[in-house]
Amino acid sequence: MSDSRAPILDAIRRSLRRGALPAEEAAACEARLANHARNPVPARATSLPPRERIALFVRMAEAVNATLTRVKRPEDVPAAVADYLAQFNLPPRLVRAPDPALDALPWSARPLLETRRGVAERTDLVGVTGCFAAVAETGTLMLHSGAAGPTRNNFLPDTHIAVVRAGQVVATYEDGWDRLREAHRGDGFAMPRTVNFITGPSRTADIEQKIELGAHGPRRLHIVLIDDGEAA
């Protein structure tokens, strides 16, 4: 295989009628990358005080067919999960992402709820994950891969239940990026392998433009919001 790197870069520069970028312009571009300044951001979510921002998140998530229950305290989450599964006649068995925040919840207080901790398999019908942030603007969840977050757990199970703390609800995607950069500060910002923005359950309109939920990803997306009065 020929190496086409140099010919392609040459062709680009020829079309732009210049040689390599002058040092000064290159420095300006480097600065643009380093500063990652925000472009205009819609006011829909940024203009809201924290409580209303959470209400917007709930409204937007429900508008894209996610369902949501609020609980007051983290220890109420297992009961909310069990109730949700019972309500939809789903089996009380789930795979739970190996996330310390989920480990801390009292799953054993619901003995009828069978939970397995780990990476989702083909046979897992229900998956519970945490999340990194939740974007009010469009009711979007932001999750990322890592030891605590196997990406496949967000996609393989028929039902995805995500646990969100009120303090994780941010206004915009840009706020999410800033939090991620902050969380991964240290030896320079390195993106996780995968960042998933999830807005409602899987869907398709590929057959006669008719929207059907549950194409390849989860058929149902349920959010358990721990509304402990804390706000971002």
Binding site: L9, H36, R193, I207
Partner: protein
């Protein structure tokens, strides 16, 4: 992909006479176009976001070499690889080499227009690797051995009965007596059939909506989640992307993402927006062990700095297709190559040559709707006009057409001749057509009058009416 754009006219004629296609195409207006209008109306900042997006792309294209090198550097830092490919042949060979090294027998694919441009599926199959399309629409056209008819909804030209038929012919191990009456049942069947394919695939291939120079990431948006299963489960994730997909920062990609889903399907945001950076990390619980970006030029570097550069801003949302009266009437396959509709009418001649694709920029009413709805403000009608000019300069249109145009141009350049000639023609046609009010046939214009009548002129040209009115009314 092999082009049949030369046969555009006969393709279009066939499409117009195809009742199933005509029925399917009526869904487009009530679906995508109507939903887009609602989504746009709900975002007061729409115009400001368009302006910002155009500025981002202009800046990036003017510094494309810099941002591609920056992107590559970050990909390599994160343990991935970038493969620069000048054309489809190089890109195909690169993908095959990765598959061979990993001993891959099947690959899953997320929908990729670059993959279509490369003709990757045929190439892999010919070389013993079985590609499985996983986007529902793309899967449907793969089992029907058809090219896509739309850049985000590849099977939009089909009605559900045709799809059910194809499922029955392909999924032969399923109960022949099963019901396949509605989209829900077919959707469930495709999900069940494809799930084991996702789990068995050795390599997962996706496209890219964006490449991010800041982080060395590729971004895809899907609604089905197929792109995520495709890239997460196999040993390697291969990204097919063309040069112009790069943007500087995550913030820049975010701004354009706010335009993309709204323009495409009328959603506020696509269900899944996925940012992928390098292979899995040592302590990751899952993910692909390898990450490759196949970076394809295929004629794009030549568009920079010229009259078609604006086309490189295109984000493949398909709003111009969804709002185009010509596309709505004939569907996408008539255009004869990967990209249909107005964006295809500009891009296809740029990539495969005006000799092959000369009909495409001519298949427009110049109503201007495409430019109006384009989130990236690409002047599509102006660029179609550029192609028509180039085609004329190269003497490509047929002789009678060129001759007619030359006669018209002779008069048009001489207003003192043109005006009396136009007035004479209007009077003549007006007198001849007075009885019926229209002409059913005209000499030298049989093609035009075959499907419509020419209304007879009232008898005076505009310029002579105007002059008469000015003369009758004294200047204030």
């Amino acid at each position: 992909m092999k082009a049949t754009s030369r046969a555009f006219k006969s393709n279009a004629r066939r499409a117009l006479g195809d009742p199933q296609l005509q029925r399917a195409m009526t869904n487009l207006r009530s679906g995508f176009a109507a939903r887009r209008a609602v989504a746009v109306s709900q975002l007061p900042e729409w115009e400001a976001l368009r302006e910002a997006a155009v500025a981002i792309k202009r800046h990036t294209l003017a510094h494309l070499d810099f941002y591609l090198e920056a992107f590559e550097r970050r990909v390599v830092e994160r343990g991935g690889a970038v493969h620069w490919c000048r054309d489809a042949a190089e890109a195909n060979a690169t993908v095959l080499a990765i598959c061979r090294r990993l001993g891959a027998r099947t690959v899953t694919k997320g929908k990729s227009m670059i993959g279509e441009e490369m003709g990757l599926n045929d190439y892999l199959e010919a070389n013993g690797v079985a590609p499985v399309e996983t986007d529902l629409g793309e899967y449907i056209i793969q089992i029907r051995h058809e090219p896509p008819s739309h850049i985000i909804a590849p099977a939009v030209h089909l009605v559900k009965e045709q799809i059910a038929q194809s499922f029955r012919e392909t999924h032969r191990d399923l109960d022949p007596a099963r019901q396949l009456k509605d989209a829900r049942q077919m959707c469930d069947e495709a999900r069940a059939v494809l799930r084991p394919r996702f789990l068995a695939a050795d390599v997962g291939i996706t496209g890219a909506n964006f490449l991010v120079a800041e982080t060395g990431s590729s971004i895809i948006v899907t609604n089905e989640g197929n792109g995520d299963l495709t890239q997460t489960l196999p040993k390697a994730h291969v990204v097919l992307a063309s040069l112009e997909k790069v943007v500087p920062t995550l913030e820049d990609a975010t701004t354009i993402l706010r335009l993309l889903a709204r323009s495409a399907t009328g959603q506020e945001f696509s269900t899944y927006t996925t940012v992928s950076t390098g292979p899995r990390r040592p302590d990751d619980a899952d993910g692909p062990g390898e990450y490759h970006v196949v970076l394809l030029d295929n004629g794009r570097s030549a568009l920079l700095g010229g009259e078609f550069e604006d086309m490189l801003r295109c984000i493949r949302c398909a709003a111009c297709l969804n709002h185009c009266p010509v596309y709505q009437a004939i569907g996408g396959q008539s255009y004869g190559w990967v990209y249909p509709g107005p964006m295809g009418a500009v891009l296809t001649p740029s990539l495969i040559g005006i000799e092959e694709a000369g009909h495409l920029p001519n298949a427009s009413t110049f109503c201007g709707r495409c430019e109006e709805v384009c989130p990236m403000k690409i002047p599509l009608p102006k660029m179609m006009r550029h192609w028509r000019e180039r085609e004329f300069q190269r003497h490509l249109p047929p002789r009678p057409y060129r001759l007619g145009l030359a006669v018209w141009a002779f008069f048009a350049r001489r207003p003192a001749l043109y005006r009396p000639a136009a007035d004479l023609a209007a009077r003549l046609l007006g007198a001849l057509g007075r009885a019926r009010g229209r002409f059913r046939a005209l000499p030298l214009a049989a093609g035009w009058t075959r499907t419509r009548d020419l209304p007879a002129p009232e008898g005076r040209s505009f310029m002579s009416l105007w002059a008469a009115r000015r003369a009758a009314r004294p200047a204030p």
